[in-house]
């Protein structure tokens, strides 16, 4: 099915700058996001590089303590609020949700554009805060340090994060309404791609969680700006309340980062195993379960905070429950590959990398949910390693895997498969070398956010920094070969992977309104034909 308007697509329909800046086309907005989050990723990555270099020696030889504190704060804030949270939803989700459900656009195209502008404004505030003195509270903004004691640019940064929250809310709102109301005829909930299920679950978290962190940050700003007591004990407040309100959002926020990645992995594993995802219904429901139960576990960040012991037990128990649906997903992906026809293309390499790293990240999460063990490893590098396995090993692997998988659809061009595989393998090796030593140094007791450290931790830190170098190369490579593919890449055709899914029915790149006629769906998702025994050789 090709479009009539020979060769006209969303990219070449109009070349004027204004046609990009005022576009309401979800595909163009996705690309605006792609460019802007890449900028923030580069900033966050560079900051991480300086942090790792500084930790090469135990004596903090590279930067001053204040500078170091600002570096890890900005690294956390840019990576979490400006890269990870928008990454898959705002780029791949924006591009694919309407295409996958056979719609011409998201339900509210202008709100979609608005959310990008809000993101840019929030990002600008944060960058201005960074260059005019920086902020040193850690991305967690714990009170009373952030509200009373820090003398850095807390207000400006908090404002930036507050504003960006609304961008996230509006994106989630758009997805929820679109998925409910704009599905093509025949596309029932039980036929939806798992990518859509994952985005639906993610959007719910964005809607229900983000406002709470917004008001919390606002209260910190009120306390800091006007001196009215909310969280500072000197003014009658309770700093632990801040932690409750903060983690009510910030723990589910981890699922905002990982759920869309899981959606990508389901698509990729099915396509390159040429099989329907094993236990489709279970995988779909587990996304929703994660989104819901994920809201009940925030107190596991507070086991040593002086939170009541009984509350700690409730939160520990619930945290174990949320581990189950994640485990189920991993088992189901593995089972999907059983008796498949597995093709180790670049996206599949990323998917396998995701499964491996997410398994380690998830299992170490069990350690942190266990009350007595968490007491020892809380706020050490063990935690740092754990959440990097989830957020970098999981979320970013999924993001890059998805970007490669749909790159031909987005740009109409094929990238170099060889370079793609080299980059994927480099990333995997570099990642493990960077973060696995951090588990050990954490178990040994090295606290996080340390600018200097006892010398016996140096060996492991050197390993980690060496790994970070490899990791950096792995991140730079795609920039080159993906850009190269735009100029010299082969034309992709509508469906280079011979995948199922409505997005592959549209042209590559798709026309502005995606489909000439609204498609009608009659089959389940991932209707890959089962293979005759002979073809497996």
């Amino acid at each position: 099915m090709t479009t009539a308007g020979a060769g006209t697509n969303y990219l070449n329909a109009d070349y004027r700058v204004r046609s990009w800046l005022l576009t309401t086309d979800h595909k163009r907005i996705a690309l605006l996001y792609l460019v802007s989050i890449s900028v923030f990723f580069a900033i966050g990555g560079a900051l991480a590089g300086v942090i790792r270099l500084n930790l090469l020696t135990p004596y903090g030889s590279l930067v001053q303590a204040e500078t170091y504190n600002k570096l890890f704060t900005m690294h956390g804030i840019t990576m979490i609020f400006f890269f990870l949270i928008p990454s898959i939803p705002a780029v791949l989700g924006n591009f694919l949700v309407p295409l996958m459900i056979g719609a011409r656009d998201l339900a509210f195209p202008r709100i979609n554009l608005l959310s990008w502008y809000i993101y840019v404004v929030g990002g600008t505030f944060t960058i201005v805060a960074a260059v005019t003195g920086g902020v040193d509270t850690g991305w967690t903004f714990y009170t009373p340090y952030s509200s009373t004691f820090a003398n850095t640019n807390v207000m400006l940064t908090a404002l930036g994060v507050f504003i960006t929250g609304f961008s996230s809310i509006l994106t989630g709102l758009n997805f929820v309404v679109t998925i409910h109301k704009m599905r093509a005829p025949g596309l029932t909930w039980s036929r939806l791609p798992l990518f859509i299920w994952a985005h639906y679950a993610t959007s719910l978290i964005m809607l229900l969680g983000t406002p709470v962190v917004a008001i919390t940050i606002l209260l910190v700003a009120l306390e800091r700006g006007l001196g009215i007591g909310i969280f500072d004990p000197k003014l009658g407040g309770d700093p632990i309340l801040f932690q409750h309100l903060f983690w009510f959002y910030s723990h589910p926020a981890v699922y905002i980062m990982i759920l869309p990645s899981m959606g990508v992995i389901s698509e990729v594993v099915a396509c390159f195993s040429r099989k329907r995802v094993f236990g489709y219904t279970v995988v779909a429901v587990s996304s929703l379960t994660i989104a819901i139960v994920g809201f009940l576990v925030w107190g596991h960040h507070m086991f040593v905070s002086s939170q009541s012991m009984y509350a700690g037990m409730i939160f520990s128990f619930l945290s174990f429950l949320v581990a189950i649906p994640s485990a189920i997903k991993v088992f189901n992906w593995t089972a999907t590959m059983y008796k498949g026809s597995i093709d180790l293309r670049t996206p599949m390499l990323y998917a396998l990398g995701f499964i491996g790293l997410f398994t380690i990240g998830g299992l170490t999460g069990i350690f942190l949910a266990t009350l007595a063990v968490d007491v020892h490893v809380h706020d050490t590098y063990f935690v740092v390693a754990h959440f990097h396995y989830i957020m970098v090993g999981g979320a970013i692997m999924g993001y890059l895997g998805g970007l490669h998988f749909w790159w031909p659809k987005i740009t109409g061009k094929l990238y170099s498969e060889a370079w793609g595989r080299i980059a994927a393998i480099t990333l995997f090796i570099g990642f493990n070398l960077t973060f696995f030593p951090q588990f050990i140094v954490g178990i040994l007791g090295m606290p996080r956010r340390y600018h200097v450290y006892p010398p016996e931790f140096q060996f492991l830190n050197i390993l980690s920094t060496a790994g970070a170098t490899v990791l950096a190369i792995g991140y730079v490579l795609p920039l080159f070969y993906l850009t190269w593919s735009l100029l010299k890449g082969e034309r992709a055709g509508a469906n280079p992977w011979r995948a199922t899914g409505l997005e592959w029915e549209a042209d590559s790149p798709p026309p502005t309104f995606n489909f000439d006629r609204t498609p009608v769906v009659t089959a389940e998702a991932y209707a890959y034909p089962s293979l005759p025994e002979a073809s497996r050789g």
Binding site: A372, T500, V520
Partner: protein
């Protein structure tokens, strides 16, 4: 150059130097075994499938979504698939429940100091630890304790949240301004161990640490005798009690404008609101900082706040003094 041997530098597990360390590590190792098993299972299966089911030749083309796909029956509707899903839901659930109960039980132990524990007062401030022994010995960033004696830490902060962390003891507890938090340990091996601040607290967070020196009983007694001290904590408190004027209202008998504090500690106090409260460290601290929060029955709410007039160290001394007033009395339990 480095003060540490090669062996310490290549260590992958921290030393165990407290009574709970071994118990925590047992649970930790159990978790490692479970994790290695499940991670290994996944890695082996994925590896196996990748090799065994690697695509050898191009397979049949994918039909368009609209087309009839007779062969794409869903495996997960079969009974076997359902059994598999139940299997790998229930088994991990069972294992995690074991871990939960084990961990919670141990956490309970770790959260409750033994009744006979020696008390040390800890005050965290940007960026140092101030520690006071009951005998009046004060230390900064260094704590001497006897081996095989449970030690209870009563902790508070003068500014932001800190966290008292001794890796070798597997002890960590946030130190929160405005309230007392409690941790405890019983050291098992003499030696020196790192003390870290684990909660980010500002510029010099990384150097807000020191060491815990665990000593044999005789060595410890010798250290106690030789350590710089002016007066015991309670004596210092008594001096302060008169100096800042507590004594003008809180007299030895109930004749002053405030209740007498003799024999008060550890009893239940009736409040004007009709409720009762246990007179413990937290209540005494609150009564000094926010005197109006809980008014003792029969007394007017006239006590001014002492915020700013007395430091956290001073409050600790006052509490020690008030505690000492309880000692000579017979147990006045209701």
């Amino acid at each position: 150059m480095w003060p540490t041997s090669l062996a310490t530098r290549l260590r992958i597990f921290p030393e165990q130097a407290s009574t709970v360390a071994g118990q925590v590590d047992a649970l930790f190792l159990f978790l490692v075994v479970v994790s290695v098993f499940f991670a290994g299972l996944i890695f082996v299966l994925v590896g196996l499938f990748v090799i065994k089911y690697r695509r050898r030749q191009t397979d049949a083309p994918v039909p368009s979504i609209g087309a009839e796909v007779a062969s794409a029956e869903s495996h997960d509707h079969s009974l076997g698939a359902l059994a598999l899903e139940v299997f790998w839901t229930v088994i991990p659930l069972g294992i995690t429940m074991v871990i939960f109960v084990w961990g919670a039980n141990l956490y309970f132990t770790m959260s409750r100091p033994p009744a006979n524990a020696a008390e040390i007062y800890v005050v965290g401030k940007q960026w140092m630890w101030k520690l006071q022994h009951p005998g009046g010995q004060r230390e900064i960033n260094e704590l001497h304790v006897p081996v095989n004696v449970p030690v209870k830490l009563v902790m508070t902060s003068e500014d932001v949240i800190h966290s008292f962390f001794v890796p070798a003891f597997r002890v960590k507890r946030d130190v929160v301004p405005g309230k007392y938090t409690v941790a405890w340990f019983e050291a098992t091996t003499p030696g020196e161990y790192y003390l870290f601040c684990a909660q980010y607290c500002g510029t010099s967070h990384a150097v807000m640490g020191g060491r815990i020196v665990v000593m044999d009983r005789p060595d410890y007694e010798r250290w106690l005798a030789g350590a710089a001290k002016d007066v015991s904590l309670a004596e210092a408190g008594e001096k302060l009690f008169y100096q800042i004027g507590c004594s003008s209202c809180h007299q030895t008998t109930n004749t002053g404008r405030g209740p007498s504090l003799v024999g008060k500690f550890g009893t239940m106090e009736k409040l004007a609101s009709g409720e009762s409260v246990l007179v413990d460290e937290a209540y005494l601290r609150e009564s000094i900082v926010f005197p109006q929060a809980k008014i003792a029955l029969g007394y007017p709410p006239i006590m001014p706040t002492f915020t700013g007039l007395v430091t956290e160290d001073g409050i600790v001394q006052l509490i020690a003094y008030i505690k000492s007033l309880a000692a000579p009395q017979k147990a006045q339990r209701p």
